[in-house]
């Protein structure tokens, strides 16, 4: 019907087939058993919602108003007992090794019951992803083993990502902006390590976490090429916590200030220094830093889309319940046609949000996506069924070898084409701003349907609205994510297009 060469060129036209049908391409490659795993996880988290999240959601929120010093230790303890902090850490690093892509479904599920608590549980994986994106196996292994040990001993060990600074929020998310911004977190190379000075703000779960993936800069004038990723442990000398914020919502999840005063970080806690990155065929130093940031957000922004979808669902479920039980003008609300249409609209918003984060997930499963490697079937099954001690004996000793490090870089750094990076990053931005916009839309609609009843704290609906707003701000504001989408998937076909140049 059509010649292979012609076929290729037609499919490479915008919208490119490769970018448009991620699920179609990814599903045949995905190990079948992943479906079963996802089913198990979704039912597990539903149980967690029934037993932990719902009973605590409003209570915890209220507690934070009564006691501004409240920190969510109790929640962390519960989530630790239920195994959520090691759930998606690969067995290679001592975790439970459930398939990483399933985490988005789990997030949606938990967020539908309380996105504040879901954030308190899953922002840990933002930290984990940052540690992972350094591809520094010995340190990844050390930190993840601490998390596993924390689970075993009942002393939760969580990881944060600390990148935002008082003077730089959007700027630190974009390598193109960071050199023009006012970053202040300075890492000076000294014998045996680095000395860090400066502060980070809004760090989710900071006060209750053990490891912090800190992004600092060895040259404040040219941070893009002098980015240092450090693993800082709570208790290290010179590292302390400042205040935690008084937020509108998601109050179960604290946002902390991290303060560094002549804080010495030894070499074995350095995740990476961009000045030491080996030369790359396709990327300069700044682009390598950009790749790391994007590896993180390719996963976590899609997760925020799942948070948003969960919120949209929670709002819808509240509205549905209210409409089914309350009469307006002498008739159950659910039997007013306009209300049925509104509920259908809300339902659609949930589904569409889910489709978006799913597609972003599938994009990450395709070649060049971060999930791709672990989903290679033989590797996947091997990892799933092999006992942990064997991994510990036969794999872990290799982490320190130079060749292993080289291999990781070949797979994840060089192995990711710029096209794949753009596809993954673009899709995760779509999932992020679309899902979170749907969360906002549905939480507004639920309150419109519920009127006076929805205003009360105990209704839960007003909390959903308060919680939902955060999602449009963090992990890059929704505007930044729109610009990122433009940059990744639109600008490439318009050579004269320039981003951040006005």
């Amino acid at each position: 019907m059509i010649k292979p060469k012609e076929n290729k060129s037609l499919l490479e036209r915008e919208p490119r087939f490769e970018d448009s049908f991620c699920s179609l391409q990814a599903i045949p490659q995905i190990p079948k058993i992943q479906l079963k795993e996802t089913r198990t996880l979704v039912s597990y988290v539903r149980k967690f919602n029934d037993e932990v999240v719902r009973p605590l959601a409003l209570k915890t929120d209220l507690k934070t108003f009564q006691d501004p010093d409240y920190l969510p230790w109790d929640l962390v303890q519960k989530a630790n007992e239920w195994g959520f902090y090691t759930m998606f850490i690969p067995k290679l690093f001592g975790g439970q090794g459930w398939s990483l892509p399933s985490h988005a479904y789990v997030i949606e599920e938990m967020s539908s019951a309380c996105v504040g608590i879901a954030n308190a549980v899953f922002v840990h994986y933002l930290g984990f992803m940052t540690v992972l994106a350094s591809w520094n196996l010995p340190l990844i292994n050390r930190i993840c083993r601490d998390v596993a040990e924390g689970e075993r001993t009942g002393n939760p060990c969580l990881i944060t990502l600390a990148i935002t600074e008082p003077g730089a929020g959007t700027d630190v998310e974009e390598v193109e902006l960071v050199d023009r911004g006012k970053v202040t977190c300075y890492a000076e190379k000294v014998k045996g390590g680095y000395i860090v000075n400066g502060s980070k703000i809004f760090i989710s779960m900071g006060h209750v976490s053990t490891w912090h993936a800190l992004i600092a800069y060895a040259d404040l004038k040219k941070p893009s090429e002098n980015t240092v990723m450090l693993a800082v442990k709570t208790g290290m000398k010179g590292f302390s916590f400042g205040k935690h914020e008084d937020k509108m919502g998601q109050r179960a999840c604290c946002a902390s200030e991290l303060v560094f005063e002549d804080c010495f970080i030894p070499d074995d806690c350095v995740l990476g220094d961009s000045r030491d990155f080996p030369n790359s065929q396709i990327r300069g130093t700044g682009e390598l830093v950009n790749q790391i940031i994007h590896y993180v957000v390719e996963v976590t922004r899609a997760s925020v889309g799942a948070f948003g979808t969960g919120v949209a669902r929670g709002a819808y479920e509240h509205a549905l319940k209210f409409a089914s039980e309350n009469a307006v003008d002498g008739k159950l609300l659910i039997n007013h046609e306009w209300a049925q249409i509104m509920l259908a609209e809300m339902y659609k918003n949930v589904i569409a949000g889910r489709l978006a984060y799913n597609e972003a997930n599938y994009s990450n499963s395709l070649k060049g996506g971060v999930f791709n490697f672990l989903q290679i079937k033989p590797l996947y099954y091997y990892m799933k069924f092999i006992p942990q001690p064997i991994i510990d004996v036969f794999f872990v000793p290799f982490y320190k070898l130079k060749i292993t490090n080289w291999l990781m870089r070949q797979i994840f750094v060089e192995g990711q084409s710029l096209e794949a990076q753009k596809r993954c990053s673009g899709w995760s931005s779509i999932a992020k701003f679309f899902g979170t916009d749907m969360g906002m839309k549905n939480s507004q609609m639920a309150l419109e349907m519920m009127g006076q009843a929805g205003l009360r704290h105990e209704s839960g609906a007003e909390k959903i609205l308060r919680d939902s707003k955060l999602l449009q701000i963090y992990e890059g504001t929704n505007q930044l994510n729109r610009i990122n989408l433009f940059n990744c998937l639109i600008a490439r076909c318009v050579p004269q297009a320039r981003v951040f140049e006005e």
């Binding site: 209220l62 959007t170 509108m248 419109e448 704290h457 007003e462």
Partner: protein, 373 residues
């Protein structure tokens, strides 16, 4: 400020503006902590003393005797600073309007004569409910020449801080409902703790349980819906004014912040993406000002079908305010989400104010019903 409102009302603008600047802005976050912090009694007392609680109350009842435009101007300026006080003024004015619509000026003047403080002057009412829509839960029984009220009623705004409450009740065996004025000092008047709510924290509501509370009949038996409709038609203009004020507050904060905050090497206002958001906000604010003044004028002049204008104004500006205030947070990034800035409060308040006077979708439907009738 509001473009077409008569200039002789300038004095109200000045009054409200300076009151807001002096009493509200500085302590907004602290006032908003209620019920987890102290109530701003002193502010309410001052509002009472300068006459903010009696703008539309006739002079013979001890009020200022102004029409709805003056109330709108006051609410606009107060809400730009702190919509909680706006909610108090609104709820009190709604109760007064219902009593006036029922032709019971005398009740108000007697009450105001006795009032020695803000509490004595304030009248609580369930200002978020349209009783005809939600159903009426209180029951009134006529005993000789007076009425006894029994039952539970939710979300009576100001019910914990006022001397009186205006509540709807059903008289056994009758169609429709009737308004009664009750004394909050009555032995049978039991109130809950303040209801923890989305917004307007310092405009608290309580749930009431009344047991054999004496009620003074307001207007005629069974005519409650008529009075509510009449009063709420006028008060929709006031809702619009509150939203206009909230929008202005949010816009001004965003405009201010975006000139201070730098990202990408320049003030964020100089990124056209952000400037476009500000442009959209500015557009909404300017339209809101026009809408409020026209709606208030229409109500004052009793223009043909004026009530459609006031209701449309409230509905439209509520939608706009909910949209604008999320952008108001967005412009401040993470800071917008924190209590230290007024933006998160305005976002909550706008959504809260949208719920005044009954379910918004039902009010939209009522536009068509009334256009056709």
């Amino acid at each position: 400020m509001l473009t077409t409102i008569k200039c002789e009302l300038k004095s109200f603008e000045d009054l409200a503006h300076s009151f807001a600047a002096k009493e509200l802005t500085a302590n907004r976050e602290e006032h908003d902590r209620y019920p987890f912090g102290p109530f701003f009694d002193d502010v309410v007392t001052k509002a009472y003393e300068v006459g903010l609680l009696g703008a539309t109350l006739p002079e013979e009842c001890g009020g200022i005797g102004q029409d709805i435009s003056a109330l709108c101007i006051i609410l606009d300026h107060i809400c730009a600073a702190d919509a909680s006080l706006g909610g108090i003024i609104f709820t009190n004015a709604l109760a007064q309007e219902i009593i006036l619509a029922a032709g019971n000026k005398n009740l108000l003047s007697a009450m105001m004569e006795k009032a020695v403080d803000a509490k004595g002057a304030l009248i609580a009412c369930p200002s978020f409910a349209n009783p005809a829509e939600n159903g009426v839960t209180l029951e009134a029984v006529k005993v000789k020449d007076h009425y006894m009220l029994n039952g539970e009623i939710d979300y009576v705004v100001l019910g914990g801080i006022s001397g009186h409450a205006l509540v709807p009740a059903k008289i056994k065996g009758q169609e429709g409902y009737t308004f009664f004025l009750i004394d909050t000092a009555d032995k049978g008047y039991a109130k809950s703790e303040p209801v923890v709510s989305l917004g307007l924290h310092a405009c608290p509501a309580v749930d009431l349980n009344v047991v054999s509370v004496a009620g003074t009949l307001v207007g005629q038996e069974g005519d409650g819906a008529k009075y509510f409709a009449k009063a709420s038609d006028r008060m929709h203009a006031a809702v619009a004014a509150m939203q206009c004020g909230i929008m202005k507050g949010s816009f001004e904060e965003a405009l201010d912040y975006s000139q201070q905050r730098c990202q990408g090497g320049k003030e964020i206002i100089n990124w056209s993406g952000l400037r476009m958001i500000l442009g959209q906000m500015a557009m909404k604010v300017k339209i809101a000002e026009m809408v409020v003044s026209e709606a208030a004028q229409a109500a004052e002049n009793q223009d043909r079908q004026w009530y459609l204008y006031t209701r449309a104004a409230a509905l439209h500006l509520s939608e706009q305010a909910c949209k604008l205030t999320t952008d108001g947070i967005q412009c401040l990034g993470g800071n917008g989400y924190m209590k230290d800035y007024g933006q998160e409060k305005r976002f909550r308040d706008a959504k809260h104010v949208q719920a005044f006077l009954g379910l918004a979708p039902m009010r939209k439907l009522s536009l068509i019903r009334d256009m056709l009738s």
